[in-house]
């Protein structure tokens, strides 16, 4: 499903002394099947933006299109449930949404609401549990007995069990240990490739953005600041620094490398292994074995 924002503005508590403009005239389009990273500081409007993706918020001005669903200030899709079954949202700290008596019941909650048959739910749970890195004997336990990291995985499983076409992730790895962060992000990336899901990742981490995303949108104070492919966006160091954003480590490294060895290696979203080989090539002038 394609996502299109056309001149979208959103104002909280309009016409009161507390009015606050969270989004200001934002336009972009995300083709189906891409992996988009939305980057910005706290208060830049990221969280407000993702609420527009499944109809939790309607734009004050402008138009949002999610596939065939059209959302404007006046017009809301008649079948909101269908929209929400196709757009899965993993909110910040999703473990706060757990409430059922057992983990199995909590994972089944979403699909049940969207009318998925019980046997199908059963099948999906069996599929998803190993995917998010949980063991099956936990299924009958209470979600409140788990550690924070495990609770996060249960909550994510609950969203994935709906089998959305668009997956929206709002800082899904915040507060996890580095290994857990990598596991979870790799899992999302794998899913993205296997199911050809459109993925929208809201993050602070430039490293995650550069590693997984093929399209970057940078927000600053409710406005779209930059947009483009990672190699286009992240090479504009000055523009990024102007809004207090860092460039990914690899770009910083390439920059220092160029200054020290007087040789430029262009950034092309290499992995660190690929880059190591390129460096070998450039410095020794030989093809690595």
């Amino acid at each position: 499903m394609d996502i299109t924002f056309k001149d979208v503005s959103y104002i909280y508590q309009k016409n009161t002394p507390f009015a606050h403009q969270a989004l200001d005239d934002i336009s972009f389009s995300i083709p189906s099947g891409s992996f988009v990273a939305i980057i910005g500081h706290t208060g830049s409007g990221k969280s407000t933006l993702i609420q527009h993706l499944n109809g939790l918020a309607a734009p004050t001005e402008g138009e949002v299109m999610i596939g065939d669903f059209r959302i404007t200030n006046k017009e809301k899709p008649k079948d909101m449930k269908k929209l929400r079954s196709q757009v899965g949202v993993v909110f910040q700290y999703p473990e706060h949404q757990l409430f059922e008596e057992t983990i199995a019941k909590d994972i089944a909650f979403g699909p049940q609401n969207f009318g998925v048959a019980d046997r199908e739910i059963e099948k999906r749970i069996q599929e998803i549990i190993p995917m998010v890195g949980l063991s099956e004997d936990l299924l009958e336990r209470s979600p409140f007995d788990l550690s924070g990291g495990q609770m996060r995985r249960v909550a994510i499983a609950g969203v994935l069990a709906v089998k959305p076409r668009i997956l929206v992730l709002d800082e899904p790895t915040a507060g996890l240990d580095p290994r857990g962060q990598k596991e979870i992000m790799d899992m999302f990336y794998h899913l993205h490739q296997k199911e050809n899901m459109t993925t929208v990742l809201v993050t602070h981490s430039m490293e995650d953005a550069v590693k997984y995303a093929d399209h970057i949108i940078i927000l600053n104070k409710g406005k779209k600041y930059m947009e483009g492919r990672p190699e286009e966006v992240f090479t504009q160091v000055e523009a990024l620094n102007k809004v207090q954003l860092d460039t990914p480590e690899m770009i910083q490294f390439l920059d220092k490398f160029a200054r020290k060895f007087k040789r430029e290696i262009p950034f092309q979203k290499q992995t660190s292994d690929q880059l190591a080989k390129e460096i070998q090539q450039v410095l020794r002038g030989v093809e690595s074995p």
Partner: protein, 267 residues
Amino acid sequence: MNNTLIIGQYVPGNSVVHRLDPRTKITIIFFFVIIVFFANSFWSYAVLTLFGLLSMFASKVPIRFVMKGLMPIWFLIVFTFLLHLFINKDGILLLEWSFIKIYTGGVIQGIAISMRFFLLILITSLLTLTTTPIAITDAVEQILHPLKKIKFPVHELALMMSISLRFIPTLLQETDKISKAQASRGVDFRTGPVKERLKAVIPLLVPLFVSAFKRAEELAMAMEARGYQGGEGRTKLRELKISKLDIWIYILFICVIIGLFLTRNYG
């Protein structure tokens, strides 16, 4: 949730009413609430209304905003008015239409009672519109201070009040967050049969309680870690001071009371 307004939410400002000591405001409101019930004539109501409107304009809170705060009780005001209009049988018969009979006494009493309601709500909502919750609790603690002599836990009560006030916005935010998360998982809070909608509250309430308890525990721990000790020997960050302004306002208010008692039974 972000679009709805809490009744009497504090509106920052620097007007005369904002600058008054919260104790002054509470004391005046306390006595105002009492004297409203003494008004019984046109002129006595006029004096009170003048005072109410004067305070409202002096507070510089946008009128639209004050009225919005009064919104939920308009129904009550209108209802009392109609009740008196139809039931009271004093005075001259004004109108007769099948079984409905309206007398002058009904009209007068209807207006008087709704006026009372209106003034009471206006003046009390002005308190919360112009005073931060923290200032109100500080003032309550000070006013109740004498009760300490009879071992009444004044400080603890004030602390409980300020903590609960402090966490109302947090809880509202949390509710908003969780209801959005559950709506994304297909919960429908707005439509469907009542039974279904009641059931939809469970996925909202359970996480809310869990996080409220967790928060309370964390807060208690943080307070203890910072050496919190209530009551005796505790100093204050914000000292309340009675200024000249407060004294003038007291004098004005006493004039209002005198004015009220002079105009009682007139007109």
